[in-house]
């Protein structure tokens, strides 16, 4: 029987949503597998989350140490390396902490590593069949993973169906087995994102621009359309990287989470990091001159046009209403 461990991230004593998605992912790897949750941290927050997780997992391992009060990937890696048995499969969320932790963990556990898994198609012997995406989601790929010596797998949050919490498991305290937790990296502080002039999270309609805007001067075209619609201009990551708009305008997992009624994706390819910032199932209109842009798979309405020509046409028609 495959032994699967799920490393559950949490904040302020509350598990991230992915905690409910690991069991579904594990089932797709091996329906008969036992799945154990692992949480690391310190004090009351850790106890709270470990207790909550017993409703989802039959076994919850907690590792309590002041060195992990803030999740430092190097420290957590050391603790996990001492606690996870050889040959196990370890599931980690493909988020900013998981990306910090998981590749190195696979080296220390001497196991295989596959990142950002979006689906599993079962196990053949010790060979796991995995579905991933490449090239910013433009193509998918099947990969095989030799898990004979175990595997560390990061899964994309929000991809596997969440389970209901109906277990009544137990917490196992393995704090004493964590070993030496000294590290060459020290956490200092979290610097909160600056609040911008415009709060894109409050707007019902967003005109959101991506690479298709091509030039900083063209942002005005989007602003004029937004004005006509009573909307606010937001953007995808490349626009902030280019310093054309402030960070507070960025929609995505590394930016703002928005819940508009209508989302106008203008020249945005639609990476999962971007789509991860759009919640509440809005009506998504995608305009992109590339007919193969991944955004067309998730949008409600798609238009293959150059946004620099389409936006003024739409603006004019709206103003004439």
């Amino acid at each position: 029987m495959t032994q699967i461990f799920a490393y559950v991230p949490f904040k302020n004593g509350v598990a991230e949503d992915v905690a409910l998605e690991f069991p579904g992912a594990a089932k797709k790897i091996d329906a008969g597998a036992s799945v154990t949750a692992v949480v690391t941290g310190s004090g009351a927050d850790l106890d709270k989350v470990a207790g909550e997780l017993t409703k989802v997992y039959s076994e919850v391992i907690k590792i309590d140490n002041a060195a992990m009060a803030y999740p430092n990937a190097e420290v957590v890696r050391k603790a996990l390396t001492n606690i996870i048995p050889a040959g196990a499969i370890v599931l980690v969320a493909h988020d900013t902490f998981g990306m910090d932790l998981a590749p190195g963990l696979s080296i220390k556990l001497e196991s295989a590593y596959a990142a950002d898994v979006v689906d599993f198609e079962g196990m053949d012997g010790s060979t796991l069949k995995i579905v991933r995406q490449e090239l910013g989601g433009a193509v998918s790929t099947h990969v095989t993973c030799d898990a004979s010596a175990g595997a560390v797998l990061t899964i994309r949050p929000g991809t596997f169906a969440p389970v209901d919490g109906s277990a009544s498991g137990a917490v196992v305290d393995k704090s004493g087995d964590a070993g030496d937790l000294s590290a060459k990296r020290t956490f200092l502080e979290v610097v909160e994102a600056e609040v911008g002039e415009v709060d894109i999270t409050k707007s019902d309609v967003l005109v959101s621009i991506g690479r298709g805007i091509e030039d900083e001067d063209n942002i005005e075209i989007a602003q004029e359309l937004a004005d006509a619609m009573g909307a606010v201009v937001s953007c995808s990551r490349p626009i902030v990287d280019a310093k054309w708009l402030e960070k507070s305008r960025q929609v995505g997992t590394s930016g703002q989470t928005v819940k508009p009624k209508v989302y106008m994706a203008m020249g945005i390819s639609g990476s999962f990091q971007h789509m991860g910032g759009i919640k509440g199932n809005p009506f998504i209109v995608a305009v992109n001159k590339n007919p193969k842009a991944p955004i067309f798979q998730v949008a409600d309405v798609g238009i293959v046009e150059d946004i620099l020509e389409f936006m003024p046409a739409l603006q004019e028609a709206i103003e004439a209403l």
Binding site: P103, R132, L135, R185, R237, F296, V301, E305
Partner: protein
């Protein structure tokens, strides 16, 4: 500061429409436009800014075939001092761990204080930096969007969820994966490329690096790509077609119904 930046030649997502070949198991690679991985340009720019302030030198390295040399030259045109191409038939089919193993062998031939990678590349795994650091027992930070060098250690900011930034202190030598937006990579013109066109770029194979061929390449790979495919995600978007005026008219009706106007 001696800095090694690991770079990769990748299909350019901004310049290509990806299609499958006639067998439907691989990309149609005939007309693909390749360039240096976008994240790597930020890593090289960051290295240049550090060396401008503190002195030192920058080496860019890649694992690839002969054609990969062009990305090394591009990064040298940006300002990297040296380039190294790690190339061998035995490297073909390497998974992430294989690539990290090859790079580790090269790192150990030098005396680097700082090793930079892009936060991710075409495969979207974001794995090489973390693996390389663990193999070397160097500290590591991913998704770095700020670097402040100090004596014997550096302060790094990591991009975390919600646009927040996690500040850490990290001992040298270390490995950092660089996120886009950390700086504004300088433009490289034709003239810059010409200047480095004849610079000698050493090529090293498994033997030069003291690598056992079975530990890298397809032989050592636990992760193997079987095929590429386009997923069937249901209906996708309802595509509006016709003249621009017709599309605008249809869209306005929908926007009215959905509360967009």
């Amino acid at each position: 500061m001696e800095i090694l930046v690991c770079v990769k030649r990748v299909p350019d997502t901004a310049e290509n429409e990806f299609e499958l070949n006639s067998e439907g198991n691989d990309l149609d690679r005939d007309d693909l436009v390749y360039s240096v991985n976008e994240w790597d340009n930020y890593a090289v720019e960051e290295a240049i800014q550090i060396v401008d302030n503190l002195g030192g030198s920058i080496t860019v390295v890649t694992v690839g075939d002969d054609e990969a040399e062009e990305v090394l030259r591009r990064e040298m045109a940006m300002g990297a001092n040296n380039g190294v191409l790690l190339s061998d038939e035995a490297f073909e089919g390497s998974d992430g761990k294989g690539i990290a193993t090859i790079l580790k062998a090269e790192v150990e031939k030098g005396n680097y204080d700082l090793i930079l990678t892009g936060a991710q590349a075409d495969e979207g795994a974001g794995q090489i930096g973390g693996m390389l650091a663990a193999m070397l027992d160097y500290p590591y930070a991913s998704l770095v969007n700020k670097i402040e060098p100090a004596d014997g250690k550096i302060k790094v900011g990591r991009e975390i969820e919600g646009g927040n930034q996690e500040m850490n202190e990290i001992e040298l030598p270390c490995v950092l994966s660089i996120q886009t937006g950390i700086n504004e990579p300088r433009y490289v013109g034709i003239r810059g490329i010409r200047k480095v066109a004849s610079v000698d770029i050493p090529v090293k194979g498994a033997g030069d690096l003291g690598l056992d061929a079975g530990s890298v390449g397809e032989a050592g790979a636990k992760i193997k790509r079987v095929d590429y495919f386009v997923p069937d995600l249901g209906d996708g978007a309802e595509m509006l077609e016709g003249s621009t005026d017709e599309i605008v008219e249809k869209l306005i009706e929908k926007l009215k119904a959905k509360g967009g106007l």
